[in-house]
């Protein structure tokens, strides 16, 4: 792609979920191969390996193998990232394994995604794993969900099979909160409806997968209403021409800031006005998420890392005790009332889990009010308490100011991810 396209082209991040047999790796291999994102030397390496393993055709799934053990065992261990570009968009795929530590990996891959692809094997229809993946997509508030009903070639490209699965799935999704769901019948192996329209399924009138990905409307995926600017660091150049410069550097979490806006610094509550919004390429009249900028204020107030600059007429609620949906990510179980480090935007405090409200049975999606233990891959609603107030918004409204992680102080591992439900 040349420079003319860059001004218009946006980035779309999507995650893929499915198990070993759903054909997820084949689908990704197909997208990369058919969009000409695979290089000759990569193809050659995989052709050689396919031949050595006794396969007649090139196994597209091998494009996504990474680590030695993955190649040996034919499994995916960790989230891997893949890239491809079309004349319309640049894509980042978070390829998450479907079986081992699925919740942990799926949550990780989905946390920054605009869209998620869920694969259903046409022969098996909606299974428990489909429900789990859909639940996590809903929990993480992924704006767009694309359900690919794969292996249509193995069910004679039957419209009835497809329709039946769509109906079944709609029973599942009616209980979830997902803004945009689309269904596409595909065969990743044969290439039907992946990049080009399938001749085997004339009854399907929708677009193929790639076209769908290229045209998803992602303009409203970012919150442009609530102006939030978490301060990462203070910039004070000790050099001529900038002796009095004091700027607050950060990436705008959500919303739009304009020069002259009345702002409040949280948690102190000091107020001021935006004097300038600076970048290396010059000062701006306005800036929006997710731009990285440096702000100067009219008044000499105390601002440091962990503080948040917000527009005075629209503020998050500083809270010390609130409910979150918690995903436990560590093999070491959660300890109630143990002190963890909590990260929220650029703010770091201590927190403890005060109470478990309920746990979700990830297979039935039912609430369990009895079990108060949290181990690896467990999800549920808990109440946490922090040493100092955090400037939170509900995750549903704001992915940046509504998300937290917990760190175990004895191992420094990231042990949990949380999404703010309410104050």
């Amino acid at each position: 792609m040349t420079t003319e396209n860059i001004d218009k082209n946006q980035l779309l991040r999507f995650s893929t979920a499915g198990s070993v047999d759903d054909g997820k790796s084949t689908l990704i291999g197909r997208l990369l191969y058919d969009s000409k994102s695979i290089f000759e030397d990569q193809l050659e390496a995989i052709t050689n390996t396919s031949r050595r393993k006794g396969h007649d055709t090139v196994d597209l799934a091998m494009f996504t193998d990474g680590l030695r053990e993955e190649r040996e065992q034919g499994i995916t261990i960790d989230v891997a990232y893949r890239y491809f570009t079309t004349p319309k968009r640049k894509f980042i795929i978070a390829d998450t394994p479907g079986h081992i530590q699925y919740t942990r990996n799926m949550v990780t891959g989905a946390s920054t995604a605009n869209a998620s692809i869920i694969l259903i094997d046409a022969r098996h229809g909606v299974i428990e794993q489909t429900k789990r993946h859909s639940y996590i997509a809903s929990l993480l508030q992924i704006p767009h969900l694309i359900i690919c009903i794969n292996k249509m070639d193995l069910v004679d490209y039957s419209e009835d099979v497809y329709k039946h699965i769509v109906e079944d799935y709609e029973k599942v999704s009616s209980k979830l909160v997902i803004k945009d769901i689309q269904f596409i019948p595909i065969s990743a192996l044969e290439g039907d409806n992946v990049v080009s329209r399938s001749e085997n399924m004339p009854w399907y009138l929708g677009a193929p997968l790639l076209h769908t990905l290229e045209h998803l409307y992602i303009g409203s995926d970012n919150n442009k209403i609530d102006a939030r600017f978490p301060v990462q660091t203070v910039i004070r150049p000790q050099r001529e021409g900038f002796i009095d410069y004091r700027g607050y550097a950060g990436r705008i979490g959500s919303g739009i800031f304009r020069k002259g806006d009345a702002v409040t610094i949280l948690p102190s509550g000091f107020t001021s006005k935006i004097k300038s919004i600076d970048t290396y390429d010059g000062s701006l009249e306005e800036a929006f998420s997710p731009m990285s900028v440096c702000m100067q204020l009219e008044d000499d107030v105390d601002v440091s890392r962990g503080d948040m600059i917000v527009r005075s007429n629209n503020q998050p609620t500083p809270s010390q005790e609130f409910d979150i949906m918690l995903c436990w990510l560590s093999t070491k179980p959660m300890q109630m009332r143990n002190k963890y480090t909590i990260l929220h935007t650029s703010n770091e405090q201590k927190a403890l889990v005060k109470d478990v409200v309920y746990k979700i049975n990830i297979n039935t999606l039912e609430r369990d009010l009895e079990d108060k233990t949290f181990g690896m891959n467990d999800i549920g609603r808990v109440t946490i308490r922090t040493t100092k107030p955090l400037m939170i918004d509900a995750y549903r409204e704001n992915r940046v100011t509504g998300s937290i992680i917990l760190i175990d102080d004895s191992t420094f591992e990231t042990v949990a991810a949380g999404m703010v439900v309410s104050k």
Binding site: Q10, Y83, S111, T233, I235, R251, S292, H344, T414
Partner: protein, 301 residues
Amino acid sequence: MSKYYLNYLDELESEAIFILREVYAQFQNPVILFSGGKDSITITHLAKKAFYPAQIPFVLLHIDTGQNFPETIKFRDKLVKELGVQLLVGSVQESIDEGRVAEEKGKNASRNFLQITTLLDAIEKYKIDCAIGGARRDEEKARAKERFFSHRDEFGQWDPKNQKPELWNLLNGKCFQGEHFRAFPISNWTEMDVWNYILREKIDIPSLYFAHEREVIWRNNSWIPQSEFITLDKGEEVVTKKIRFRTLGDINITGGIESDAETLEQIVQEVAAMRQTERGNRADDKRSETAMEDRKKQGYF
């Protein structure tokens, strides 16, 4: 469409700046690993933008194998002067002289692997807690698994099966004394993105990336530059070709490609039409299917 969106290059830039600022805020003694290649040059450019109007708050660390292109060293020294940053050099030759590592033998001997010891020694000596690198996930299959903040244990080892999950934009840079992190701000960039960015930002890069006449030898399917480190095999001959380099490593293992691309615009056009990966001409990656993973586990870049 609303005007409040970024194009993908601006979004990648903003993400990289965010990560560089997190490194600065979370670590005591971070450095930029500087090789003189386009990716580490891009990192210094991003650092300049991230902290403007202040100067880059990082020291540059160059692991010098002693088998560089002379142009790379000249470029490095000029850039360091322009940026006003401090340069630290870890010398592989010194590691050899001190007996820390032994030179490889044979025709394809290289100091590529030896860099690991020199790098880890430098990290220990200067008490570096975070080394910022220009590695990208699209480069190589093991690198596709990297985090933005990638943990290294006290032996400098990477444990790819046991990495901290990285969610949203919340980066956990906590580790024990003696351990360190590697930070990769341009993880999500592809080779094409880097070139488009260099073109857009008019970033100065070494002349080696542009097509030039050079004495070369055909070896391992690419044009290896003639230098003092090359011993000719029977049947090999030195010829003059118009070539350029897609990546820069040591002079004795980095192959060039025949090219007429003399401007950045031409390079971008050429890269867009390429059917080989950029590391396809790097002998260090060709040793085995998991050559990169094996080196990375031991502490490689």
